[in-house]
């Protein structure tokens, strides 16, 4: 009988999510688990892209041995179940060994957000009170003077020097210890905490329990299934974890995920080709870069059978461009978030084939993200910006009629139930419904008659004008289609009469005529029955710095107001 990992009653080693790796280490010890490019090889390739991109590799058997050795050595150093361990390392084999070794002991791996403002470091440490940290010397130098890190008792360093008082990570991994049984845990014990960027207040650490991680793996397995022979290149760490739990060969991206670069397309394409990857998981921006590079150089990705993408809207054009350079493949567009991945999915070919309005100038009011994952419970509630307490506001007052736009709520085993040691974040993002916890996605959407989920915007971007709601997604797709528009945004400006005014902002291509763009926008928006009150030309539409795929509305609004830009809609 197959044991379902993460679903055992009481304390059990089979609740520990690392049990998946034990199984692969025993059943397929010689299969390659990870492949990666070392720094020297990458540097040589950057200097001359004709250089062969040689990948190093490790098998599931050897990975398992390293994890056990590292875990046993950490145990000898005093690490115990429940201890919080900051793992701050680049995406590398060492990072995975360290993280899994910690979890094998029933301790908790904590991932800080390197994109967070530096003053959040102390706040994150205060939140989790780490007992140990596994990182590199510069990171230790950065955190050592911060008082909240004074609780660190065990410091493990990737590049430690003699007499620096830290434990070399290599010595733990190379220890000849082989006896470190899997720590039994409760399914709802925390396995992993991942901090996300916030601009103020206490940083939010998603509390990922062993059950949550196992359920997420099951959900991803059902949504994007792998075969025994697949080789996958995932740019998102959570997908690498899923791969390792699935026993799939994983190629680590050689690009610097912290520093997106226009040359990423070339490097990713080189890896996909060199390693004969059959699958990959990339952000929409990375996908566009790979497509553009391959298109420009006449390259076909013949081995790729599936490209998974998500994290930001992706257009039919993006899908078509990728299918042009990988004609044997399909694109799988996932809709999900840190707290729930996946929530819905749609195949790229299906997306392209969806019927559209007979008039090509009329477009839908949102993005079709496909079918909601079948094991996910969901609801839509009216726009409600404050925390929800069901004792005060029952569902009957909150829920919207099916088919109407509302905020999407989800609940299920692979939905993160809370934030570590942060009741304030819980109140804002969750709704307690007896034993059930609902996650507020912050996304506004509706379900169509074919049970497909449409996302029309974020709750904080909805424009409430004269009692009617307007959403940016549809308007921005329309703007993108207008010749001369490089980027466009649709946002609300406060207005004493209407509540909000509907404002269009455009960044134009070089040489484009703003009056022609405005006139075309006037015609096309009237046709789509979208009211516009003001129109501005801006030098640049600000985008999120991380993925460069979402408009920063607050910044754009401030800039237009501060510059006292001229309204060209008159």
């Amino acid at each position: 009988m197959t044991i379902r990992i993460g679903y055992q009653s009481g304390r059990s080693p089979f609740n520990n999510v690392i049990s998946y790796l034990d199984q692969h280490g025993e059943s397929q010890p010689n299969k390659i688990a990870l492949k990666w490019v070392d720094m020297a090889t990458k540097a040589a390739w950057v200097a001359d892209s004709k250089t062969t991109l040689i990948h190093k590799e490790i098998s599931y058997g050897d990975l398992q041995k390293r994890i056990v050795a590292c875990a046993a050595a950490l145990k000898e150093k005093g690490l115990r179940a429940g201890d919080r361990v900051i793992v701050f390392l680049p995406m590398s084999v060492e990072m995975y060994v360290a993280m899994f070794a910690v979890q094998r002991l029933g301790a908790i791996s904590v991932f800080l957000d390197s994109w967070a403002r530096s003053h959040h470091l102390g706040a994150s440490a205060k939140c989790v009170e780490p007992r140990a940290m596994i990182s590199f010397s510069k990171a230790f130098e950065l955190v050592n003077p911060i008082p909240e890190f004074s609780c660190l008792e065990i410091k493990v360093c990737l590049d430690s020097k003699p007499d620096d008082g830290m434990i070399p990570l290599a010595s733990l991994i190379a220890s000849d210890l082989t006896d470190c049984p899997m720590e039994p845990v409760q399914s709802e014990d925390t396995a992993l905490i991942t901090f996300t960027t916030g601009s103020s207040g206490t940083p939010k650490g998603a509390n990922r329990t062993h059950r949550f991680l196992c359920a997420q793996h099951e959900a991803l397995q059902e949504t994007i299934a792998y075969t025994d022979t697949d080789v996958d290149l995932p740019a998102f760490p959570i997908f690498s974890l899923n791969n390792l739990a699935s026993g799939v060969t994983t190629v680590l991206p050689a690009i610097d995920l912290a520093q997106p670069s226009d040359s990423d397309g070339e490097l990713l394409a080189a890896q996909l080709i060199a390693q004969s990857c059959s699958c990959a998981t990339l952000s929409p921006n990375m996908l566009r870069l790979v497509s553009a590079y391959c298109e420009k150089h006449g390259i076909q990705l013949e081995r790729v059978r599936r490209m998974t993408t998500g994290g930001a809207p992706i257009s039919k054009d993006d899908v078509k461009e990728f299918l042009n350079i990988a004609p044997e493949s399909d694109v799988m567009v996932l809709y999900g978030s840190t707290e729930a991945e996946p929530m819905a999915h749609i195949s790229g070919r299906e997306m392209i084939a969806l019927p559209t309005n007979e008039d090509p100038e009329i477009i839908e009011r949102g993005v079709n993200v496909g079918e909601i994952y079948e094991k996910l419970d969901f609801k839509f509630i009216r726009i409600h910006r404050d925390p929800v307490d069901l004792a005060k506001t029952p569902w009957a007052e909150l829920e919207v009629e099916m088919g109407k736009v509302g905020e999407l709520l989800v609940s299920g085993d692979h939905v993160c139930r809370d934030y570590y040691n942060n009741p304030g974040a819980f109140a804002k993002a969750k709704i307690a419904d007896g034993e059930k916890i609902w996650h507020r996605t912050g996304d506004l959407g509706f379900l169509d008659s074919d049970k497909r989920l449409w996302i029309v915007g974020r709750i904080h971007n909805v424009i409430e004008r004269a009692g009617e709601c307007f959403f940016p997604v549809q308007a921005e797709i329309l703007l993108k289609r207008i010749s001369g528009v490089k980027r466009g945004a649709f946002l609300g400006f406060p207005c004493s009469k209407l509540g909000n005014k509907n404002v269009l902002a455009v960044e134009l291509d070089s040489g484009a005529d703003v009056s022609k763009v405005r006139d075309e926008a006037r015609r096309i928006f009237r046709k789509n029955e979208i009211v516009v009150d003001e129109f501005y030309q801006v030098a640049e539409i600000p985008m999120d710095p991380r993925h460069f795929s979402k408009v920063e509305y607050g910044i754009l609004r401030d800039k237009i107001l501060e510059d006292k830009s001229e309204n060209l809609w008159k």
Partner: protein, 229 residues
């Protein structure tokens, strides 16, 4: 008299007064030369008499760049709120100009001292508006919007790679504990270029600690110079 070069990231920054910092030293102790990126190369190559380089924010990039040419010397460098990002030079320049533009506008209307106080206060009091400005710094990839020309030399400097500086130099890194202009990644990128350094945080200081926490900066200078270790 000892020579102290203060290296800032832009000509506009170089206009700022360091009156408070000067007050921390007797007139005879140091002579201050305040320079911006346009003058750094010339200044550093000729600056054999310099006792200490004090580099602030983007100025750290330029000092580290010049240090590559001064590997044989043993220099003392104080790095304040170091800011080093590469590979997306336009984004980098946009960040620089965003900050400079804001500071310049405030400087023109309120004066440097008031500007610095506003700057750090907005960090301390967690102003939403400032938070959005901070986010804006990293949200633009282009700089046209700032109406400030970026000279080709600056672009070239930004695009070239930065090697770790020699361990012969002695460096101290001073960071504002409440610095919201920097993320962890950027700070690490700066530290990775310096092989031999001590690091300290100034409690309640933001990114502009050169102006707002001159006492602590003066103590760091003295410590590095070795007068009052």
């Amino acid at each position: 008299m000892r020579k102290l070069y203060v290296v800032l990231g832009s000509p506009q920054c170089a206009d700022f007064d360091l009156e408070e910092l000067r007050k921390e030293f007797k007139e005879s102790e140091f002579s201050f030369e305040i320079v911006a990126h346009e003058d750094v190369e010339k200044c550093l190559k000729a600056a054999t008499e310099a006792d200490l380089f004090l580099a602030y924010s983007m100025g750290v990039f330029f000092v580290l760049k010049e240090m590559e040419h001064l590997r044989e010397r043993r220099l003392k460098i104080l790095l304040l709120s170091p800011f080093v990002v590469q590979e997306r030079p336009l984004s980098l320049v946009a960040r620089l100009l965003m900050g400079v533009n804001f500071i310049k506008q405030t400087l023109l209307t309120k004066g440097a001292r008031k500007m610095a106080i506003d700057f750090v206060n907005s960090c301390t009091f967690n102003s939403d508006k400032w938070e959005r400005r901070e986010e804006a710094i990293s949200s633009y990839s282009d700089v046209k919007k700032w109406d400030m020309a970026i000279d080709s030399k600056l672009k070239q400097q930004m695009s070239s790679s930065l090697q770790p500086i020699s361990g012969r130099h002695q460096a101290m890194v001073l960071l504002g504990r409440e610095d919201r202009a920097m993320n962890v990644q950027m700070q690490l990128q700066a530290l990775e270029r310096v092989l031999n350094f001590d690091i300290a945080y100034v409690p309640s200081a933001g990114h502009a600690l050169l102006w707002t926490h001159s006492k602590q900066v003066a103590v760091a200078i003295q410590k590095l110079i070795g007068d009052r270790a």
